[in-house]
C-alpha cells in the first residue's frame, strides 16, 4: 500500500493567463487519499483558478494534472467526474427548484424505459446515503432545496459529491456562509468522507479551522505554491506569514518569470 505516497490528485507547473493577468504561475498541488489537504491563500492567490483546473471547469495553458500518478486531461467537468473527482462549489451549484434527490442524481438519473427517470429509487438511495453520512434533513425529501436553510443546502451539495466521488472531493469554502453549529456539522461530514479513504481538498480562509482539520496544508501566493505543512507543523502565525509572503519553505518559488 504505497498509495499514500502517490498523490490521488496532483498538479504540476500549471499556468493560466486571463488577458494580462497571470492567475497561475507554475502552480503545483498534491492531495493524498485518506487525508484532508487544505489549500489556503489570500484573495487573488489563484486558489479558485487552480481548483477550476482540477475540476475541469477551465483548462490550464500549461502544466500537468495527474490522477493516481497518471497524467490526465480535463477538458470539461465530466472528465473530472469520470476520474472520480467531485467538487462542491462555493455557490453549491444546486438547481433550487428541484428536490434533494433530483439534485443528487442530476445528470446521472436512474432511468426506466430509457427516457423516464425512476424518482422513487433515486429518493430511496439519496435518503440512504444521507443517513450514512449523518446528514439529517429536517424537511421532507419532496420539497425543493430552495426551501432548505443554508446549512442544509450545503449538506445536500456535500452529500451529492460524497456519493459520487471515488477518489477526490474538492470543497470550496464549505463553511464560509454557515453558523457555528452548521459549521461543526460540515466539519464532521468532512471527517466522515476522509475516513472513507477519499482525498479531501478543502479551501478555506479560516486558518484556525484549517490547522484543526487538515492533515496537510498547502499555501498559495501569487499563483504558485509557496509553502507546505504537515499536521502539527504550523501555527496560525506562521500560516499568516506564508500567506502574506513573509515565509516560504518551497525550494523554487517562481518569481513570476518561470514558465512551464
Amino acid at each position: 500500500m504505497n498509495r499514500a505516497e502517490v498523490p490521488a490528485l496532483a498538479a504540476y507547473g500549471l499556468e493560466k493567463k486571463y488577458g494580462q493577468v497571470r492567475a497561475l504561475r507554475g502552480a503545483s498541488f498534491e492531495a493524498f487519499a485518506g487525508q484532508v489537504t487544505a489549500l489556503v491563500g489570500d484573495n487573488g492567490a489563484g486558489k479558485s483558478t487552480l481548483i477550476k483546473c482540477l475540476a475541469g471547469v477551465i483548462q490550464p495553458d500549461f502544466g500537468q494534472i495527474m490522477v493516481d500518478g497518471r497524467p490526465v486531461s480535463m477538458s470539461d467537468p465530466v472528465h473530472a467526474t469520470k476520474h472520480g473527482i467531485e467538487t462542491v462549489y462555493q455557490d453549491l451549484a444546486l438547481a433550487s427548484d428541484l428536490d434533494a434527490a433530483a439534485n443528487v442524481f442530476l445528470g446521472r438519473e436512474i432511468r426506466r424505459m430509457r427516457v423516464l427517470h425512476d424518482h422513487k429509487e433515486m429518493r430511496r438511495r439519496t435518503a440512504a446515503s444521507f443517513s450514512d453520512l449523518g446528514v439529517g434533513l429536517v424537511q421532507d425529501m419532496r420539497v425543493p432545496v430552495s426551501s432548505f436553510s443554508g446549512g442544509q443546502r450545503q449538506s445536500v451539495a456535500i452529500a451529492r459529491a460524497a456519493m459520487w466521488a471515488k477518489h477526490v472531493i474538492i470543497m470550496d469554502e464549505p463553511t464560509a456562509a454557515l453558523g457555528v453549529i452548521q459549521t461543526e456539522k460540515v466539519l464532521q461530514l468532512i471527517q466522515k468522507v476522509r475516513s472513507r479513504g477519499l482525498a479531501v481538498v478543502l479551501i478555506s480562509h479560516n486558518l484556525p479551522q484549517v490547522i484543526d482539520v487538515a492533515d496537510r496544508i498547502e499555501v498559495m501566493r501569487l499563483g504558485a505554491r509557496v509553502a507546505r505543512f504537515r499536521r502539527g507543523e504550523v501555527d496560525v502565525e506562521r500560516l499568516i506569514a506564508a500567506v502574506s509572503g513573509a515565509f516560504s519553505n518551497e525550494a523554487d518559488v517562481p518569481n513570476g518569470e518561470v514558465t512551464a
Binding site: S96, G107, E109, V115, L116, H119, A127, S146
Partner: protein, 356 residues
C-alpha cells in the same frame, strides 16, 4: 428523526393507509402541480356561469364547442411550457403555426388528382397518404423554425425574446411569400379533426388531450423534462453536472416549434383553410395560458395540467360573458389583470423562499 430516515429508506410506510387516502393524495398531488388558485378560479367560473345561465352555459354542446375552441391553443401551449420552463420565451409561435399550415397545403399540392391536386379533393376522397405527407411537411416547418430559434438562443446567445421575435417576422414573411399573400382552402385534411374516434369526444379534443398527456409525462417523469427544469432553475449547475445545456435548449425550442406547426396542421384540418393573418396573437395566448397555469416565467417550475387549465380560462370567461350579455372585451381586461397578478404571486413566492 432517525426513525423518519429509516422509514424512508425502505418501501413507503404502507400500514394504516386506507384506500381512500391514496385517492385523496392522488388528487392532492394533481392539484399540487397546478397553481391551486388557477384551478379554483376555473371551478368557480364554471359554477358561477352555470348558476347565472342555467341551460345555456352548462350544456354539453357548449362545453364541446369550448373544448374544440381551445384544443389548438392547448397544443401550442404544451410546447410553450417547456420553453418557459427554461426561463425562455417563444414569440415565434404564429410563424410556426402559419408555416405549418402553408407547408401542409403545399405538400397536398404535390399529389395530382384528376385535373387538380390533393388540395381540391373532398373530405371523402382524401387518402391517408395525403394526410401523412401533409403532416410531415407541417412538422418540417416546425423543425426549421425551432432549430433556428434553438441555435440562435443557445449558441449565439441572443436573448430568446429577440431571437424568436426575429423568427416570428421572418417566418410570417416567408409564409406570405410562399402563398403570395392569399390563403388556400382545402378539405383534404378534415378527417383528422372531424368525427369522433372515441364516441362523445371530438377528434380535435382527443388529440389535444393526448398531447397534454404526453407533455405531462415528459415534464414529470422524463429525464428530458427534469433537465429542462434544471436548466431553467440554474443553468450553471446543470452545466457542471455534465448536462449539455446548449444541445438541450435546441431540443426544447425544436419541440416547441413542432408543437406549433402541429397546431397549424390541426388548424387547416379544422377550419379547412390556411389562415395567414389568423394566428397573430397565438403566442400571447399560449404564454398567458402557461403563466396562468403556474409554470414559472422565471424558469425551473412547470406544470402541464396548469397549462391545460390556463388555456381554458380565457375562452371560458369569454364564452360566459357572451352568454351573459357582458361585452366580450371585458374578458381581455380581466385576463390581463389576472395574468399580471399570477406572475406577481410567483415573484413573491420566490422572494420569500430565497430570504434565508
Amino acid at each position: 428523526m432517525n426513525t423518519m430516515r429509516t422509514a424512508r429508506r425502505g418501501a413507503p410506510p404502507a400500514p394504516s393507509a386506507p384506500p381512500s387516502r391514496s385517492l385523496i393524495s392522488v388528487v392532492k398531488d394533481l392539484l399540487g402541480q397546478t397553481s391551486g388558485l388557477t384551478f379554483v378560479a376555473l371551478v368557480v367560473m364554471i359554477i358561477y356561469f352555470s348558476l347565472m345561465e342555467p341551460g345555456k352555459f352548462n350544456t354539453t354542446s357548449n362545453f364541446d364547442l369550448l373544448a374544440q375552441n381551445v384544443s389548438i391553443l392547448i397544443v401550442l401551449s404544451v410546447g410553450a411550457t417547456f420553453v418557459i420552463a427554461t426561463s425562455g420565451i417563444d414569440l415565434s409561435i404564429p410563424a410556426a403555426v402559419v408555416l405549418g399550415e402553408v407547408f401542409a397545403t403545399k405538400a397536398l399540392g404535390w399529389f395530382t388528382v384528376g385535373e387538380g391536386t390533393a388540395v381540391d379533393v373532398t373530405e371523402s376522397e382524401t387518402k391517408f397518404s395525403y394526410i401523412a405527407v401533409a403532416l410531415l411537411a407541417a412538422l418540417a416547418a416546425g423543425l426549421i423554425i425551432g432549430t433556428v430559434n434553438g441555435l440562435v438562443v443557445a449558441y449565439m446567445r441572443v436573448p430568446p425574446l429577440l431571437a424568436t421575435l426575429g423568427t416570428l417576422g421572418s417566418g410570417l414573411g416567408a409564409a406570405n411569400l410562399m402563398q403570395d399573400g392569399s390563403n388556400t382552402a382545402t378539405s383534404a385534411l378534415a378527417p383528422v379533426t372531424s368525427g369522433e374516434a372515441v364516441p362523445g369526444i371530438s377528434n380535435i379534443v382527443l388529440i389535444a388531450i393526448i398531447v397534454v398527456a404526453l407533455g405531462w409525462v415528459a415534464v414529470r417523469y422524463s429525464v428530458f423534462g427534469r433537465h429542462t427544469l434544471a436548466i431553467g432553475s440554474n443553468e450553471e449547475a446543470a452545466r457542471r453536472v455534465g448536462i449539455k445545456v446548449e444541445r438541450h435548449l435546441v431540443k426544447v425550442y425544436v419541440l416547441a416549434g413542432l408543437a406549433s406547426a402541429f397546431g397549424g396542421f390541426l388548424s387547416v384540418s379544422f377550419f379547412g383553410t390556411t389562415s395567414l393573418a389568423g394566428h397573430m396573437t397565438d403566442n400571447m395566448q399560449a404564454i398567458t395560458a402557461v403563466a396562468l397555469g403556474g409554470t414559472s416565467v422565471f424558469g425551473g417550475v412547470a406544470t402541464m395540467l396548469g397549462t391545460l387549465i390556463g388555456a381554458c380560462i380565457p375562452s371560458l370567461l369569454k364564452n360566459g360573458f357572451v352568454i351573459m350579455g357582458v361585452g366580450a372585451y371585458w374578458q381581455d381586461v380581466a385576463i390581463g389583470f389576472v395574468l399580471v397578478l399570477t406572475v406577481w404571486f410567483d415573484q413573491m413566492r420566490r422572494k420569500a423562499r430565497t430570504k434565508h
